[in-house]
């Protein structure tokens, strides 16, 4: 009787994995929030766990707004927020872990370089629709924009002084990787993504070229030294000033001990 | 074997053992309707223990419906209503509180198309036995052999009992179904045109089998084949449509029906068919 067998298997599984009732752990932290930050924080957590036996840190994703909401409701100890906190979020304690610059990318087949801020505005408002209008070949421009609410969109819009409703895009994307792949696959597309991501792909041979969003050259170095303005903070937030293990974990995340991990994720350690 | 009989007895509700004069099955004014449509009206028929009764007549005049009443397979038909009096060994077959499961173990049914389950031959035969509570393997094996021998299938299949029943020929399948019905030692075996889907040779084998089954149980057989009715039956009942409703126009021994019919319909039907 397959049904019965399935049930038996399920029960066996339940016995093999009994609920952890009162197991020997001294502290458990739950961290939720931005998926951009999750791989980094997850790696930091592994290293922290190894250094502090008995501590367990569960990292969950779901977006920056979830990080804020979960911390406020007490579901999570720490929230990951990949943007500047909004005025109505000043009840939270903010700890910046890393920074992430935003730069324009085009395909390597595209000869147009550089782009002025006005030209970018022209492209994103639909005034410039063909690369020939700004010295390129006669090809229609494919404008890649981010979805409403994304923090890179906010930074971009702030930088070019546009409202969301002004933008005339052809493709709307979610994550940075999607932006890179769209531009890599379409020689006449333009988009904006995390500088670290773009740098990695440019080095790895993906046909994308990074361009500055403003006068300063777009490099992670310039983001690190603070000269490149279009960058977002990657934050760990708590409802109250952090205490105990949470405080230690946040301090650890901001310490030089994890800078290699931050570089591994192509972000920039935040200046202390 | 003794075990099986004991089990079969257990499942047989105690009934008053009728005297030889009392018929095993007694129908009085039985009518069947499907919704508003009446298909069988006012059927009265006695069937004696140990006899073979053939229900004959053209298609669509209620023979199968009547058969369905005898083991309450009509329950499966939505909005089917049966009225009148129908008794098996004195027990009321139309009692809505009757245990139909127990009834169907006493009254077996063979379908027009052989319907072995899509399992192995052994599993086909094991199922009803296990269902009747025969837990141990040996009595089951013994019963299977006994019944397969009874239908003459043992020599043909004993070395491939674990093969698919569906791989058997049509005639073998039908004999397997009969063996399956015999396992529970039914008092009555209902057969709904058991040979009509078979080739003549398989049909003849099954027909011969019916003769040998007489000693084990009472048989009621629906058939369109008048020659077959003459060969296997003791008594015949001719069903006929009257005003769109099936009923019995004449019943009697095979001799009466075929050689001295009282009704002109019978005479014409028998003559037309004989000629």
């Amino acid at each position: 009787m397959p049904l019965r067998r399935t049930l038996v298997a399920a029960l066996t599984a339940a016995c093999l994995f009994p609920p952890l009732a009162g197991a020997a752990e001294t502290a458990k932290l739950t961290v939720t929030g931005a998926s951009t930050l999750a791989p980094l924080v997850s790696e930091i957590a592994h290293r922290f766990e190894n250094a502090n036996p008995g501590v367990r840190i569960d990292v969950q994703t779901g977006g920056s707004s979830r990080g804020v909401a979960d911390v406020r409701r007490g579901i999570a100890d720490i929230g990951m927020v990949s943007r500047v906190l909004k005025p109505d979020e000043d009840d939270l304690t903010v700890n910046i872990v890393a920074r992430d610059g935003v730069g324009m990318i085009v395909n390597t087949a595209n000869p147009v370089d550089p782009l002025s801020r006005d030209q970018v505005i022209g492209i994103y408002t639909g005034r410039i629709t063909n690369w020939s209008q700004i010295g390129g070949p006669d090809r229609p421009i494919t404008v890649v924009n981010k979805a409403e609410g994304r923090s890179t969109l906010d930074i971009f819009l702030e930088h070019v002084q546009l409202k969301p409703t002004d933008v005339k895009a052809h493709i709307v994307i979610g994550d940075n990787e999607q932006g890179v792949k769209v531009v890599a696959g379409n020689p006449w597309a333009i988009g904006y993504v995390s500088i670290g991501t773009a740098e990695y792909h440019a080095q790895a041979g993906t046909p994308v070229r990074l361009m500055a969003l403003g006068p300063v050259v777009a490099t992670t170095g310039n983001v690190a030294n603070g000269t490149y303005g279009a960058a977002r903070p990657l934050n760990l937030v708590t409802a109250k000033p952090p205490e105990g293990v949470a405080a230690r974990f946040i301090a650890y995340s901001q310490s030089p001990a994890v800078h290699d991990l931050i570089h591994d994720q192509y972000f920039v350690p935040a200046p202390r | 074997m003794t075990n099986l009989h004991a089990v079969a007895e257990l499942h047989r509700p105690p009934v008053d053992e009728p005297g030889p004069a009392v018929p095993l099955i007694r129908a009085r004014g039985v009518s069947v309707s499907y919704g508003a449509r009446r298909v069988l009206g006012d059927v009265s028929l006695d069937i004696a223990r140990g006899s073979v009764t053939a229900l004959i007549g053209p298609s669509g005049c209620g023979k199968t419906s009547f058969l369905g009443c005898l083991n309450r397979m009509v329950d499966l038909i939505p909005r089917c209503r049966v009225t009148g009096e129908l008794r098996l060994a004195g027990a009321d077959l139309l009692d809505p509180t009757l245990d139909v499961v127990a009834l169907r173990r006493r009254v077996g049914l063979i379908f027009q198309r052989p319907n072995p389950f899509p399992f192995s031959i052994r599993h086909n035969l094991d199922l009803p036995l296990r269902e009747a509570g025969v837990r141990r393997k040996e009595p089951r094996a013994a019963a299977i052999e006994r019944c397969l021998r009874a239908v003459g299938l043992w020599d043909e299949v004993h070395d491939r009992l674990d093969h698919a029943a569906g791989a058997l020929s049509g005639g073998q399948q039908q004999r397997l179904c009969i063996a399956r019905a015999l396992l529970l030692d039914p008092e009555v075996l209902l057969m709904d045109e058991p040979c009509s889907a078979l080739d003549p040779i398989s049909g003849a084998t099954v027909e011969a089998l019916i003769g040998s089954l007489k000693e084990r149980c009472t048989i009621v057989i629906v058939t369109h084949n008048l020659a077959q009715a003459r060969r296997v039956a003791d008594r015949c009942a001719l069903f006929w449509l009257r005003d769109g409703i099936g009923t019995i126009v004449e019943q009697g021994t095979v001799g009466q029906i075929f050689h001295a019919p009282k009704s002109e319909i019978t005479a014409a039907y028998v003559r037309g068919a004989v000629a």
Binding site: M1, P2, L3, T6, L7, A9, A10, A13, A14, F17, P18, P19, L20, A38, P39, S42, E43, D58, V59, Q60, T61, G62, I75, D175, E177, Q178, Y200, A204, D264, Q265, Y266 | M73, L76, P78, V101, A102, L103, R104, R105, R106, L109, F111, R113, P114, N115, P116, F117, P118, F119, S120, H123, L127, E131, A132, A164, A165, G166, A167, R180, A181
Partner: protein, 286 residues
Amino acid sequence: MSIDALRRRRTARVVDAAVWGVPAITVAALAWLLADVVWHGAGQIDLAFLTTAPRSAGRAGGIAPMLVSTAIVVAIAVAVALPLAVGTAVLLVEVLPPSASAGRWIRRSLDILAGMPSIVFGLFGNLVFCTMLGMGFSLLSGGLTLACMVLPILMRAAEESLRGVPDGCRRGALALGMPRHRAITAVILPCGMPGIIDGLTLGVGRAMAETAALVFTSGYVDRMPSALTDSGRTLAVHVFDLSMNVTGGDRWAYATALVLIGLLLVTAGLLSLASRFLQRKGAHKP
């Protein structure tokens, strides 16, 4: 030969070509897609990849915890959804009369369920299982959420399969004096088993490939789970994370996807063997 006959022969040839053409296109598209995955991913796969934990957010090390989490989550989903689905299908086909409005409503409700996007299941599971029922981010929450998701697939497949069981089997079983519930469990369900297994294969495939519903329920933790109440990242979530959130994770995403596809092929193969075995035991269609 008449023109009519010629035309008919031409139609036959066109139809035959089309019937061979469709699988050819499908195979070509799949081969293309698979080749893509193999090309990018095969280089990363070795024994260590299957037996060690991930390092550097998945760009080193292996996927062992994800394999275990996936197996547990899918097992929970099947263990919960399969009995429910088969029970519901039996109810619809064998118990309720075909005209019953209850049956129609159950079927409709499951059809609507089948069309809900998986992210809605994820948010639902998060709210109901993780928060309201207090299971937190756990394999259990994930499994239960997946169960809700695959329920319509399993139910529809089981229902269709039971409808295909020949009436002869049904009546035969009842005429043998089997009570209805025994006729169903001993005869009708075994007859319908191949179709139920086909549905199960689809359901398991869907469950193994699911991402959005699990991000919010079984979670993101890439540790080897030690309890059903632990959070655990499944293979599909890992693939998604590597390809969307981890810069430079593409090759590892493809490698993980390749393992996932391999795992599914093995599961589908085993299930189809089981189905074949059942059919060989029966091998008959009256």
